[in-house]
């Protein structure tokens, strides 16, 4: 609380009070509906905010000198929260992986069924782990590359904590059976509205920070972060358009129906991959990778070409998720062709990252943190290639609905997204807590090998099972009838599902090691480094030429 000014404390109190009032209203009016549980959660959060604010209400006002330093407390909190979400959601992921091996492991309870736990896993890793990582690092990066402090102390906390409230509402909702049934957009209308409020605050915060910058140019990482924030807002709002059954019911119906609904959903879904899981993490990569390598970015011009290539082409590619469906053929052709073109800027980005390492490859060998990021760039290249390949219709005819898709997603999610996050966290944690290095470089090394072997086992298992599935489903006897029943293909998956769950377990263990290492770094950090490590906050420089 000591960080917040008097005005900000009042604002926090007001926010808490509003949340509490709204939550109580929802809880009472929707009694008996799952919405009332979420009302209680809103209300409880509001009460907690009020309690914390009141306790610190009369603490001394923050130092007038605060504008001479960066505001990193939200980033620090974000990193720890992200790691906790990561461990939790990867545990659930591995749990559902074992559930496919031992389907009876559901305790006869609805909440423990595969259909409910799967979105807990996906939301937990994408939004809980990935989203918090993005928020935390974006705050860190934007301040450093703009040489300016975040404009106030209230909005970063509002964004971070509000966002986590959204994630909790989402995940608890799935277990209660609350879902919009749209993949990666499962939360119901009220959670969606809350996220819009939080996200607009995030966008404004980011813009205000950029406007305060003391550097003449805006660094590439910030283009990506901004694209991520802006486009995710658009996607989320459009795809979330829905009419609730009543103001106090958790259930709503989408504004779209039939094939339009499918197309909107996959326009959203694919661009969530593009702007959440790619653009944001490219922003992360563009800052931490050259920092850790101590090398300049290989090519500024390539950055520009690939940024605009990625943002432009991705927007058209969503229909490749609906090949051979009721979606008109011409939309599928467009999706396929743009997916192919998309490969070039994607590879240009990956190459830009890897070529940046020229002159620092010895560090890649010795420094596991940098190796995390280098490997992430390689997996980024691999999975974008795979994605464009799978978007070609005849290939898709084999791969669609099989585990190959699952393997592809995890090549990207584990190999690219999670590895870049771990690399960035290992780079940022010592800086943020002002110590020489991570608690244990050896454990980073352990984490690296667990993560790499886990990813490889996972992806190879799914490639195999996916292609076997695809082939079994399309093999005919010479008599012209199907050679295998669906059940045969399910049985054939058994060994691969075991391998996948084992690979996932290794990856999960790696994340646990990472969390431990970060926590220990924080606990043993002795504030040995001074602010001087960071570029000091400076006066506005001369404007760009």
């Amino acid at each position: 609380m000591g960080h917040l000014t008097q005005g900000e404390r009042e604002l926090a109190l007001l926010t808490g009070a509003l949340l509490l009032a709204l939550g109580m209203l929802m809880m009472v009016m929707a009694w008996g509906d799952p919405l009332s549980v979420h009302g209680a959660m809103f209300g409880f959060s509001g009460a907690a905010v009020m309690a914390v604010t009141l306790r610190g209400m009369f603490a001394p006002a923050p130092d007038e000198n605060r504008f001479a330093s960066y505001y990193d407390a939200p980033s620090k909190a974000g990193i720890v929260i992200a790691m906790i979400w990561g461990v939790f959601a990867m545990f659930i992921g591995d749990w559902v992986a074992w559930l496919l091996v031992f389907p009876e492991m559901t305790f006869d309870a609805g909440w423990a069924s595969f259909g409910r736990l799967r979105p807990v896993h996906t939301t937990g890793v994408i939004f809980g782990f990935g989203g918090n990582a993005l928020i935390a690092t974006s705050f860190h990066v934007v301040q450093r590359t703009c040489r300016t402090r975040l404009p106030d102390q209230f909005s970063p906390w509002f964004v971070l904590l509000g966002y986590n409230l959204f994630c909790l509402i989402a995940v608890s909702g799935y277990m209660l059976g609350v879902t919009q049934s749209k993949e990666y957009a499962e939360p119901e209308w009220y959670a969606d509205i809350w996220l819009v409020i939080v996200w607009v605050a995030y966008f404004l915060l980011y813009m205000r920070t950029l406007a305060r910058r003391n550097e003449p140019h805006i660094y590439v990482a910030n283009w990506y972060f901004l694209a991520f924030i802006l486009v995710v807002a658009i996607l989320h709002i459009v795809n979330g358009l829905a009419v609730p059954v009543s103001a106090f019911s958790a259930k709503s119906y989408s504004a779209f129906s039939g094939v339009q609904d499918a197309m909107t959903q996959w326009w959203y879904g694919h661009n969530a991959v593009a702007f959440f899981l790619t653009a944001g993490f490219l922003g992360m990569m563009y800052y931490y990778l050259p920092m850790q390598a101590g090398r300049p970015i290989y090519s500024y011009r390539t950055s520009i070409v690939s940024f605009w290539g990625i943002t432009f082409f991705y927007m058209w590619a969503g229909s490749h998720h609906l090949h051979y469906t009721a979606l008109p053929f011409w939309v599928q052709t467009l999706g396929m062709s743009f997916s192919i073109m998309l490969l070039i800027p994607s590879w240009a980005s990956a190459a830009n990252a890897l070529l940046t390492l020229n002159g620092a490859w010895d560090k890649v060998r010795t420094d596991a943190t940098l190796r995390f990021m280098a490997l992430a760039a390689i997996f980024y290249g691999l999975s974008t290639f795979e994605g464009s390949f799978m978007a070609i219709r005849p290939v898709n005819a084999l791969s669609h609905y099989t585990d190959w898709t699952v393997g592809h997603v995890h090549a990207g999610a584990l190999g690219w997204v999670a590895l870049i996050v771990f690399g960035a966290f290992y780079a940022a944690t010592p800086k943020l807590w002002k110590c020489e290095r991570m608690y244990s470089p050896g454990l980073i090394e352990v984490h690296f090998w667990l993560a790499l072997s886990g990813t490889l086992i996972y992806v190879f298992a799914m490639w195999n099972s996916g292609i076997i599935q695809g082939l079994m489903w399309r093999t005919y006897n010479d008599g012209g009838t199907l050679a295998y029943s669906f059940m045969d293909s399910v049985n054939a998956m058994y060994p691969y599902y075991i391998a996948r769950a084992f690979g996932g377990l290794l990856f999960l263990l790696g994340a646990v090691v990472g969390l431990y290492n970060i926590v220990m770094t924080i606990r043993t950090a002795a504030d040995t480094l001074s602010e001087a490590e960071d570029r000091p906050l400076g006066p506005i420089l001369e404007p760009a030429e």
Partner: protein, 293 residues
């Protein structure tokens, strides 16, 4: 003006910008990037020319190939169907003995039967067709509705207790709940029923069994037959053998007589062709014959 400097490692100039120590080289975009970008664009243009691609108000560009996926699919389905027809159509009129005599045909029946059964029936009857509680074993010799190819394929066509207009009804009334039999009588009847397949019971408690026998003749034999061997016209099962749908232990039998049973077997007319239904019947009969007795 920001001034670039030369990077000693690569020899390129930097752009002169710097962010918290990060610099950028002014390296030109690598030639292959442009090349592949152009190539992928040309490939796309080719696709747009050849295939349906761009919307034009209420219609779209049809593509130079004039390719109509729907028609192409229908055509391939028709070709496949006619390939199947050559050996499947004769099944519609063939007897079981004729089918078994033709070893080529029998092999196809087994191959296809296995997938048809796996995709449509195994969820209820089990992959090996051996049934489970509530779902009859289809490879023993105990048949509810008759064990020849015509009776089985008729069961498949109309189902049991379904909405199909010709469906076969199999209603085991809830004699206990409806008050026809009290608890004590039910227990007597159970002893009698059990004694039919397990004579030891008749020796242990002859009086109970005799009482049960009398109750059975009064309440049950109209459907299950005087000898309790079942009546196939009614789908009433043989109670004197060891094959049970719902179980032959006392608790299951009590449940059956107290609350009744009416199993639901879907009708497959409209989902499986006549030939496929007969194929499945042959498949099951053949499977039953190959079971160890």
């Amino acid at each position: 003006m920001s001034v670039g400097e030369r990077d000693p490692h690569s020899g390129y100039m930097t752009t002169g910008h710097e962010w918290n120590g990060i610099k950028e080289l002014n390296t030109p975009v690598p030639r292959p990037v442009w090349l592949f970008l152009i190539a992928s664009f040309l490939i796309s243009v080719m696709m747009w020319v050849l295939l349906p691609a761009w919307p034009l108000g209420s219609t779209f560009t049809r593509g130079a190939l004039g390719y109509n996926e729907r028609a192409a699919l229908d055509e391939r389905v028709a070709v496949a169907a006619s390939a199947r027809a050559s050996w499947m159509t004769p099944l519609e009129t063939m007897s079981y003995e004729e089918a078994r005599a033709d070893s080529d045909l029998l092999m196809r029946v087994k191959q296809t039967g296995q997938t048809l059964f796996g995709d449509n029936c195994a969820a209820c009857h089990g992959v090996e067709a051996k049934g489970g509680p509530g779902y009859p074993n289809l490879v023993d010799t105990a048949w509810l509705w008759g064990g020849d190819i015509d009776a089985i394929s008729e069961t498949l066509r109309v189902g049991i207790n379904t909405e199909h207009p010709d469906t076969q009804y199999a209603q085991m009334p809830s004699l206990g709940r409806d008050g026809a039999l009290d608890k004590k009588s039910i227990l007597r009847v159970i002893s009698y029923v059990q004694s039919l397949s397990n004579p030891a019971i008749a020796e242990e408690a002859p009086a109970r069994v005799a009482e049960g026998n009398a109750l059975f003749a009064e309440n049950c034999s109209s459907c299950h037959g005087e000898d309790a061997k079942g009546i196939q016209e009614l789908g009433a099962p043989n109670l004197a053998d060891k094959a049970w749908i719902y179980g032959g232990d006392r608790a299951s039998l009590y449940q059956t007589i107290q609350y009744g049973r009416n199993g639901h077997m879907p009708a497959w007319e409209g989902r499986l062709s006549e030939a496929e239904r007969r194929l499945l019947a042959i498949y099951l009969l053949d499977l039953a014959e190959s079971q160890p007795q």
